[in-house]
């Protein structure tokens, strides 16, 4: 590992300069990516605070809703409930916009679930039971929670995959690319020094033979 370096590099001054440039760039990129990773993780923790418990809330709410739904099915019959459900007017209104967290585009939902009273829902009163009203109300309430949960979960998934890839890049730079460049720079410097010394000795020798001949 310690000796690993870039293959096929000529030990010349040109290459040395180029490599030093690359090293500088790699180090700069590494520190930038590290900052990005830290910012993403901080953002991730903030979101985690929001998701805590919101799944439980949804489950709780839905449990009540299903109970009322089953009750109304018992009272009115399965078909009648279905019929009533068909005639309910649309109540949710969701606008999805996006926000960018460190380059990750996450959805932001602007939703509006109407809490309606029984007259506005759209089914008749003749053959419906009060349990149906309650069930409809419970479902309306749980819809708002579900939409919020959907937003948060999607954000978490998107952020998580971005964090993963940033992490991988940071590690690749830190543990492979930068050490490799450093080793290569060292190798070229050593070769150049060696060539210098060789040259020096050669000159000395030539000088000596010239003096002998003279």
């Amino acid at each position: 590992m310690a000796q690993e370096m870039i293959e096929g590099i000529n030990p010349t001054r040109m290459e040395l300069l180029k490599l030093k440039q690359r090293e500088k760039l790699a180090i700069k990129g590494h520190s930038l990516l590290k900052e990005k990773r830290n910012a993403l993780i901080m953002e991730f923790f903030n979101i985690l605070e929001r998701v805590k418990g919101s799944r439980e809330n949804v489950s709780e709410k839905l449990k009540d809703a299903y109970k009322d739904l089953t009750a109304s099915q018992i009272i009115m019959g399965d078909l009648a409930v279905k019929k009533a459900a068909m005639s309910v007017k649309e109540s949710v209104n969701v606008d999805i916009e996006s926000r960018s967290i460190m380059g990750v585009v996450v959805p932001v939902m602007d939703y509006d679930v109407q809490q309606r009273n029984i007259v506005e829902r759209g089914y008749g009163f003749m053959d419906t039971s009060v349990k149906l009203d309650e069930a409809a109300k419970e479902f309306e309430e749980s819809l708002a929670l579900i939409i919020e949960l959907a937003e948060v979960e999607k954000t978490i998934i998107l952020l998580a995959s971005e964090i993963e890839s940033t992490k991988r890049r940071v590690n690749a730079l830190e543990h492979i690319i930068i050490p490799r460049i450093k080793n290569t720079v060292k190798y070229i410097e050593m070769r150049l020094e060696e060539m210098d010394r060789e040259n020096f000795v050669r000159l000395k020798m030539i000088k000596k033979t010239l003096e002998m001949e003279a």
Binding site: L48, F139, E140, L143
Partner: protein, 106 residues
């Protein structure tokens, strides 16, 4: 952007959510039907798809692929009328553990 919500699941769940005011309800009876309906829904401009956890578990690989590929539609899993199923680990918790390295939410 204006968007639609659809719900797909067993007939009772769908009825419930239609009562709550969602117009797009797709009752499915078995997993093949669910798979086909999901494929179809993805192609439309529906942006939130509510499915039951049971379906989510069965079609896990498919859903993971879809959610990774694009932002919309969002697929969200909810418990059905039998309550939420006991899972060894929530898919979300698993993801968080992989990213942070420790378990964050219990």
């Amino acid at each position: 952007m204006k968007s639609n919500i659809a719900v797909m699941g067993d007939p009772d769940t769908v009825t419930g959510f239609m009562l709550g005011g969602i117009k797009e309800g797709y009752p499915v009876r078995n997993m093949e039907e669910a798979d086909q309906t999901l494929e179809k829904l993805i192609k439309t401009d529906i942006s939130i798809i509510i499915i039951t956890e049971k379906i989510g578990d069965e079609l896990r690989t498919n859903i993971d692929k879809l959610t990774k590929e694009r932002t919309l539609p969002m697929i969200i899993e909810i418990p059905d009328k039998n309550g939420s199923i006991e899972r060894e680990s929530e898919p979300l918790n698993k993801l968080i553990k992989r990213v942070i390295g420790v378990e964050m939410i219990k």
